[in-house]
């Protein structure tokens, strides 16, 4: 902040005396108090819960832990979570790239309205996000009778879980990519096009290398939410064991059946995912040289 602390000219006087505090620095007691408050708060609200997940998971020993994860319905839940992420992550990534290209590289009327509309799913309660699909595709829903007549099941089946997850995670890549692409401007792309590159070549050889890290950042956040979503998925899933239970739903069922250690064992996998997400996020942030980003919601 200020250089005055280290090399003030008067410190050259023979008896070493304490360097006076710069006028823009906080008194030592205030520093200690604030750091103490912040770390206590973070310790109680973040560190302690994270540690608790693993302690509770191992409460009945390693073999019970492994057993809880290798149990067939747990494995089915893991498979379903991976499947849902494998579909909704590429879909929303593709959407994010398209939206960012249109919004960042072109001027058009209604742009800010479009950006607000893209943010909508972040404002909607997860439960309401699930409900809207029940109202559309459920047995009592607007399209329910037609779906029933054609023997198509969406609600209480995997397609419903996919829809709800894709809805919830819809804005993640677009939100990260739009500012990065806007910062990049359009000059490099214009140069490429004027030299005869096709649109696809321009995107792949010019735009993509420039926004690669921002894209990856968005995908990391998108993936974490897709695998961890609970409320929206809970409404549409029907909680059928081995069929429509994702990992977070499996955790809920075990917990409500008083199988605490097993619930925390599966939860610990999700906590590991969260830790991996935080590490990837931090590494990407420092490589992009960007300062800490705003929240997602």
């Amino acid at each position: 902040m200020s250089a005055a602390t280290s090399s003030a000219p008067w410190t050259s006087a023979a008896p070493p005396r304490p360097v006076p505090r710069a006028a823009t620095q906080d008194p030592r007691w205030a520093r200690a108090l604030l750091i103490g408050t912040a770390l206590t708060f973070l310790g109680l609200f973040l560190v302690l819960p994270l540690v608790t997940v693993f302690i509770e998971a191992l409460a009945k020993g390693i073999s019970a832990y492994v057993e809880a994860i290798r149990e067939p319905t747990a494995l089915a839940a893991i498979r379903l979570t991976l499947l849902v992420a494998a579909i909704s992550v590429p879909l929303n990534t593709l959407f994010g790239i398209a939206a960012a290209w249109a919004i960042a590289k072109f001027e058009f009327r209604g742009k800010s309205l479009l950006i607000t509309a893209i943010d909508l799913p972040l404002a909607v309660s997860p439960v309401v996000s699930g409900l809207i699909f029940v109202l559309l595709f459920g047995a009592q829903g607007l399209l329910g009778p037609w779906l029933m007549a054609h023997d198509i099941k969406i609600i209480f089946a995997v397609p419903g879980i996919l829809l709800a997850t894709t809805f919830i995670t819809f804005p993640f890549v677009a939100r990260e990519l739009i500012p990065v692409m806007q910062e990049q401007g359009t000059e490099e792309e214009e140069a490429a096009v004027s030299l005869g590159a096709t649109g696809w070549q321009t995107f792949r050889r010019v735009t993509l290398p420039n926004v690669r890290l921002g894209l990856l950042y968005g995908v990391v956040l998108l993936n974490a939410r897709a695998m961890g979503e609970f409320g929206a998925v809970s409404v549409v899933s029907g909680h059928i064991r081995g069929l429509t239970n994702t990992m977070p739903l499996h955790v809920e069922i075990l917990y409500n059946e008083y199988q605490g250690a097993a619930a925390f064992a599966v939860a610990s996998l999700l906590a590991l995912l969260a830790i991996a997400t935080l590490i990837a996020k931090t590494v990407l942030e420092s490589r992009m040289g960007k300062r800490t980003r705003g929240g997602h919601g």
Binding site: L42, F95, A102, L131, L221, M227, G228, H296
Partner: protein, 280 residues
């Protein structure tokens, strides 16, 4: 949506067309379906559903707890952002990264963990029980779960503004004889204020709709510890589509109003901050 200025870049029609169709199919049409459904209920049924005593109690809890949690987060989030930006201490980067944990940790995991910690036999709940403080299965527990969920919103909106703050402003204040506290109160805090209110509003909006981290700790007693999103789920499970739809519309309208308000706050913050930077 006509293009105002011609561009040589290709792909405008394709990408905008895809964006608009995907947005409409996945987000706009399903959301509109909720309003169509609620309109088909008729005014009386809708009004009865959204103003039943149980629904009113659930709004009170959801909004009250979300407000209290956002207020707590505004205070502690500001302290945490200040400490992370201004001071150097061992473990600072680790704590900085950890602030995003509530974004990254699935809400169900957060819910069962907080319940285990705050229950009467939990690490935090046990020492509080003899003092007569019950946390789990009370509105206090709901509030604490929302504090967990909302914390990063405040820290991550205040932090960048604090990082960009010109040191000259504080030096000028100090050189004019202001104490540290006066400088903070009259120079720094007014600049942080828009970001702080934005963070508060984001945390509040998230808290109102939050489900996963709260259902486990709330105990779900109708009229006492039942949050509005849970009431929707309960009514849906009882095939009370009218009730669920009505409360969902109330939550949705409030969320949209909050989203618009937050956008306005962010624009205000940008303008305020740009103004402050120019005068520096």
């Amino acid at each position: 949506m006509a293009r105002d200025r011609r561009s040589v870049l290709p792909g405008f029609g394709l990408t905008l067309g895809f964006t608009l169709s995907y947005l409409s199919l996945l987000v706009l049409i399903p959301l509109a379906g909720l309003f169509v459904k609620s309109a088909s209920l008729g005014f009386d049924a809708f009004f009865a559903a959204v103003t039943s005593p149980r629904a009113l109690a659930s709004y009170r809890l959801s909004f009250g707890a979300a407000f209290a949690a956002a207020a707590l987060n505004a205070v502690f989030g500001l302290v945490i952002a200040w400490v992370l930006v201004r001071y150097r201490f061992p473990g600072r980067r680790l704590f900085d990264a950890l602030v995003d944990l509530p974004f990254a940790l699935p809400t169900a995991v957060a819910g069962i963990t907080l319940t285990a910690l705050l229950a009467k036999n939990g690490w935090i709940g046990a020492p509080l029980a003899p003092l007569g403080i019950e946390v789990a299965y009370t509105p206090l527990g709901v509030t604490l779960a929302l504090v967990f969920i909302g914390l990063p919103f405040v820290v991550r909106t205040v932090q960048p503004v604090l990082q960009d703050l010109e040191p000259e402003l504080e030096e000028a204040a100090a050189s004019l004889g202001a104490s540290r506290w006066l400088t903070f109160r009259r120079v720094v805090f007014p600049i942080l204020w828009p970001a702080l209110t934005t963070g508060f509003a984001l945390a509040f909006a998230r808290g109102v709709g939050e489900y996963g981290s709260v259902v486990f700790i709330s105990g779900n007693l109708p009229m006492r510890t039942e949050i509005a999103p849970l009431l929707i789920v309960t009514q849906l499970e009882q095939y009370d589509y009218a009730g669920a739809t009505g409360i969902a519309v109330v939550l949705l309208v409030i969320s949209f109003a909050l989203l618009l308000g937050i956008n306005a706050l962010q624009r205000w913050g940008l303008k305020r901050f740009a103004g402050a930077a120019e005068t520096a």
